[in-house]
């Protein structure tokens, strides 16, 4: 399996993503500079990592979405290739039109770094197949602008198509839209594209893979991707 982790000016979790991919999925990982126009030959998975690309100035993800490498990412996605956007990467995917909606300022206006409980809504996606159906997993969040917003029509469509993949839940596993740590619509933490090959999520599975550092619930996501690609 070959992965490309994109690096924009201001990306800062590219190393965390690379390490998780190498350690959990045994992937060969190259870091790809934003000014490139093509992905390395044979890239199976593209990761847009967390960070503050271009300082999150203007609007988070807006400038990175126009980087030259993004045309190659769009082409990769159109071919059915896997794309994973984490945190700032999710914001970039929304800004680049690969996923619908937008991430706005947290409802409480503060950056929040804490562990979040997420319900895995679907396990028939390339990113979640190693999880048990209805599993509640623990990933950390670390963002100031993770409040997912979309118009009513888009939300309806996402829900109708089953494209909400991760949802914030309370300690007892319930969805409660009034208790979401960032105020996200429908408690949405992560969504996928129509063909389920593009996933964007705010929480950081790559920071929960090492038992020495805390929970290891994030491993399932990277194991899922590796499993899909081995079969392919």
């Amino acid at each position: 399996m070959k992965s490309a982790v994109l690096v924009f000016p201001g990306s800062n979790r590219e190393g965390d993503a690379k390490r998780a991919l190498e350690n959990v999925s045994g992937s060969r990982v190259s870091l790809v500079w934003h000014a490139e126009t093509e992905l390395p030959t044979g890239t199976d998975l593209v990761v847009l990592p967390g960070g503050f690309s271009y300082g999150d100035y203007l609007r988070c993800g807006a400038i990175a979405a126009r980087a030259s490498i993004m045309d190659a990412v769009r082409a990769h996605a159109a071919r059915g290739g896997l794309v994973l956007g984490i945190c700032n990467g999710f914001q970039i995917l929304c800004e680049s039109g690969l996923l619908p909606g937008v991430l706005v300022r947290n409802a409480r206006l503060r950056f929040v770094c804490r562990e979040a409980l997420l319900k895995v809504e679907r396990t028939d996606t390339p990113f979640t197949r190693k999880y048990a159906k209805g599993a509640v997993v623990r990933y950390p969040v670390a963002h100031g602008e993770g409040n997912y917003a979309a118009d009513a029509e888009t939300l309806k469509q996402l829900e109708g198509d089953g494209r909400v993949i991760f949802r914030y839940v309370t300690a007892d596993g319930r969805r409660d839209d009034t208790q979401v740590l960032n105020g996200a619509a429908n408690s949405i933490a992560g969504i996928a594209s129509e063909k389920l090959n593009v996933l964007g999520l705010m929480p950081h599975p790559e920071n929960h893979v090492d038992p020495l550092l805390g929970p290891t619930d994030g491993r399932g996501l990277f194991e899922s991707i590796a499993g899909v690609l081995e079969k392919a």
Partner: protein, 735 residues
Amino acid sequence: MTSLEPKITPQLVADHGLKPDEYERILTLIGREPSFTELGIFSAMWNEHCSYKSSRLHLKGLPTKAPWVIQGPGENAGVIDIGDGQAAVFKMESHNHPSYIEPYQGAGTGVGGILRDVFTMGARPIAALNALRFGDPKHPRTRHLVAGVVAGIGGYGNSFGVPTVGGLVGFHTRYDGNCLVNAMAVGLADADKIFYAKATGVGLPVVYLGSKTGRDGIHGATMASAEFGEGAEEKRPTVQVGDPFAEKLLLEACLEIMEAGCVVAIQDMGAAGLTCSAVEMGAKGDLGIELDLDKLPCREAGMSAYEMMLSESQERMLMVIAPGKEAQAEAIFRKWGLDFAIVGRTTDTLRFVVKHKGEVKADLPIKELGDEAPLYDRPWVETPKQQNVDPASLEISATVPGALERLLGSPDFASKRWIWEQYDHLILNNTVQRPGGDAAVVRVEDGPKGLVMACDVTPRYCEADPFEGGKQAVAEVWRNITAVGGKPLALTDNLNFGNPERPEIMGQLVGCLRGIGAAALALDFPVVSGNVSLYNETNGRAILPTPTIGGVGVVADVAKTATLAFKDDGETILVIGATTGWLGQSAFLSEILDREDGAPPPVDLALERKHGDFVRTLIEEGLVTAVHDVSDGGLLVAVAEMAMASGIGATLVAPPAGMVPHAFWFGEDQARYIVTVAHAKALVLKRAETAGITVAKLGVTGSDRLNIPGERPIIVDALRERHEAWLPIYMGAGF
């Protein structure tokens, strides 16, 4: 020299923060009246912040050497050998004055400045900590300062991409007019690839890198070297504006050109900007520097030489580039979208020459600018000793459980989760112990080695007895690092005091430094970097003396570190070190009886070392299941913290006959640790006996409450709720 610049008058000299005798010194040194630009340069170099003129004499007494010290004080940051060819590079620095004036930018640029100090030396920052002091929560400005400072620290560190893993937050009315923001950064480098400010080689290009120069922060360092009067808020234009994105790019670009072998010398532009960085590079290398300001990248048109030399615009670096490497260095900087300009060259004249629009704006002897800065042996008086507090003489109406609940729900002891959740503490995937423990533990690359870091000081102790308080601050940090299993290696000190021109304040500084020196020496814990912040005073009211100590230690295997949470029911709780019930200057006295008096607990440094080394060995051998150092709040607060972290309660023993129960539970005797033991209980007790170490059984873990003989039980969950509630409620937050 131009005639358009202001004429030098006594008033203009005073406005630059220079005393008449200091101005006389300038006249003698250069043999003529300085130009306006030169006056600005002197004011930048000779203010308290840059010259350490009040503290230098006394800083000399600090121990700064050990076999593992690669670089002590005097560079951008201290450097220690952590084995395997690796080095830890660290320093703590204050940004107090700017943070009070404009909390978000003031605190953010404080973080930016200290990160820059670390990567200037070739190290990649891997952890950040901070020590914050605010005024009385009831003071109308406190809430605004907390919100702004915390958001500013987070805003900068989170975007830059360094985990903020530890720190401390305290409140006291003596900080009403001067908050303290002490930021610490720790970086990792190869021990043989450290970069210094010292320039070598004549005729080499001096290169400017990073963001453009604007009009922000002019006279920032001078502002930070004066006390506040009315209207401190109006000093806002002297505060710099931070751009963490630019700093992140600067980090990556600097490390890349260092790796490429382009850098001869490097100095960041911090306090006093271009002036200080250029003079330091030249003076340290016994070289002159000539600058051509026409080449300086500026943010706005029409800036004068004076403004360019004194601007404290952030995210800028000055370097001397190796011969023939200009093009390669420039290509790397262009790749990162940063400015790169050759703004001068090194000379053999030992002069600091500044040219602008065909005119020589300054021509000064470079060594003397730094070396001949005034050095003061300011008069000082010893702080009078206070009487010991006899617990039996106290009228105490609070019950032991009642006092515990009040303490844990008080501003100083309440959980600071609301704050550290605004800091990304997980980025880089190496945070082994997250905020909330005795010390932060960060794995070094892929391990198993780790760095252990903590910062601490008890200002109440320092005020009552500067010498004992200074000792205690060092001992406490050493103990924090030890309590997770780390071997303390070296410290950085951030000395925050009032106006040194007052003998009683100077006495606090002198006393604390002596205490710090004594403890650093006794504990083999040398001082490798530091910062002095004086004039933390408003309308004649000074802050509590606050010499914040930041320590760094190493642990061979991060998997073997200890945490403070109880691990299981039925384990024996032991306290190591003697409990005499010392209540002088205790949190109990302050919080419950509303009095801050008495002598602080004395620190027996030999005992500290003995007990610490014993505990560390127990941790290394896996003989203890939980460890917590006992600090302010005493035994019961420590036990309660261990319970709250785990949800497991304990049944405790009765205080020894004849001791006032509150003194036993809340006394602050030093050199103590609480440990829990399971199967190894007999062995640990035997070891302690052999080593001659005082150890007492404090109780047994279990149930969901703390049971103290003769007192009502304390439900752990309820206690935690109270502990977590204060700060979010105070800040008006929901969840």
